[in-house]
Symmetry: C2
Subunit: 310 residues, 2 copies
């Protein structure tokens, strides 16, 4: 059956039926608006627009993976503020000939990624579109913590990363080349695994600046440099074995992937130098006076993704 | 200049520069996420997806009008819960050849509509798209009031409407027919004027159910009937002079427009029969035992808009 055969209200009702609402939700789908708890008295909000052909391909990713990824990239932004996700809202444009089973799997992916942080897919909108379009908005609660902005890094701080880097880019390159044998990397492209808990944890540990690495480490650390008025000097980078092997097979440089690859949704943060970091965080450099990111002569490599120029 | 020439970060920076942030915003655009005040401890959230060619046409509406309308339809949903809008978030897909001046005007329209309720356009996302796509999310605060749902109508309640009905549909029909001479109606299609203040006011007056009339009065009151387990009996409807004149010119029935036309974003609410209503509210019927909307034999007219079947 297609969504066109089901009709708009059938689709909405079917989606709602797949969405148990968690403790953060006071009113879920079905009214003019949803109501979420905001116990902190402040609400953290981020939104992303994802387009078929540009941000995902239906022939490369399953609908379940697309759903997980769409939720992950927004919930990771919430985590990068030091907050915990509470609710997700999805505006959805879909073709009338889309199989209902495809839509079901997309919704399940969104829902299951929300489950990882205790958030709920609590509302949305469905309309007809020539291709699949998702407008995803995530909300989060700071639980009394100070938000960690991009602007608080100070010379002398250490720079640390939680989560993986370069693996999504490697997976994308493998898919583009049609090269098999590196399933973990392809899986990393299809479904990022943001270290959600590390955002609030870093905030509690006194992180001075933090962000979600979505456009490449060099470019994203550059945002911290610009917002904080500092320089960041990266330590030499070493590629894990599977990343090095995939790069060799493709004739690419794995360090470029690590420094400029996007979409892994690692967290990068700066901490006062005395802070003892949990093992999930690895120190990758330090903050200095000056401006821009220095990476052992690599600071001039292509600096990540521009949606209009890329 | 086009947005492609300006580049993604140039576009983001240009948009942010047009957006002063109001008192509800603790952190505006520029970080991983924005932070809004949520003083009530509950946050009301709604989202809509708007696609060029389906929800608006660039040759029929100016970018400023498209921005106002996109904000209005979401802020009206917030009002229909009895809440006051605090922030708007917009995911934006735009073609690389879009003139920057068009984008400026769209943002100004979104911003100016937010101003009407004291909300701010506090964040967003920009990506490249073949046509213009907007994913709009609005947040609101209940200010201590109980939310007014669709499910609280009781037999004996009166049904009342604030705001206009059928005027947007009339404007659309006039545009489709290329008929001039009814500027007010065309303007009503291009830019709805939701009665924002009446939502919180109705909540304070004890409204038992309320919603935003976006898909046509009959269809939307049907949602109250279904959610509340009641029937609604509408009084005979009379068309205002200009609506009647436009309908005559097009050979149409103005009462059909009033009962089934969408996008005016009036508020419809039910109130206990004893409540004295302010002049902004006009009584249009009453709530009875049973189910469905009865409108003097017109209950079988086309019941509003289905995005997959319409």
């Amino acid at each position: 059956m297609t969504v066109g055969e089901l009709g708009e209200f059938g689709v909405v009702s079917r989606i709602s039926g797949r969405l148990p609402q968690g403790a953060t939700v006071l009113l879920g789908p079905g009214d003019d608006a949803a109501i979420l708890r905001a116990p902190d008295g402040r609400v953290v909000v981020t939104t992303d627009m994802l387009l078929e052909g540009r941000h995902f391909r239906r022939d490369w990713s399953s609908p379940y993976e697309i759903g997980r990824k769409a939720a992950a990239q927004n919930l990771s932004d919430i985590s990068a503020m030091g907050a915990v996700g509470t609710g997700l809202f999805v505006g959805l444009g879909i073709p009338a000939d889309l199989p209902v089973a495809w839509l079901d799997a997309l919704i399940d992916g969104l829902r299951d990624e929300c489950d990882l942080v205790g958030a709920s897919l609590a509302g949305g909108d469905v309309t007809r579109s020539a291709s699949v379009v998702l407008g995803v908005t995530a909300l989060g609660d700071l639980q009394g913590r100070s938000a960690v902005l991009r602007s608080g890094a100070r010379p002398g701080d250490v720079v640390a990363v939680a989560g993986s880097l370069g693996r999504s880019e490697a997976g994308l390159r493998l898919l583009l080349a049609g090269l098999s044998g590196f399933d973990d990397l392809v899986e990393a492209h299809r479904r990022p695994r943001p270290p959600y808990r590390e955002g609030p944890r870093a905030a509690a540990l006194g992180a001075t600046a933090m962000l979600d690495v979505s456009d490449g480490l060099l470019q994203d650390l550059g945002h911290i440099c610009a917002a904080s008025g500092v320089a960041i000097v990266l330590d030499p980078v070493e590629a894990p074995d599977d990343l090095a092997a995939a790069a060799k097979a493709l004739g690419a440089d794995p360090v470029d992937w690590i420094l400029t690859g996007g979409e892994d949704h690692a967290l990068a943060a700066t901490f006062p130098s005395g802070v003892v970091l949990p093992s999930e965080w690895r120190i990758v450099g330090n903050v200095a006076e000056g401006d821009g990111v220095q990476a052992g002569g690599r600071e001039n490599v292509r600096g990540g993704w521009d949606h209009f120029r890329g």
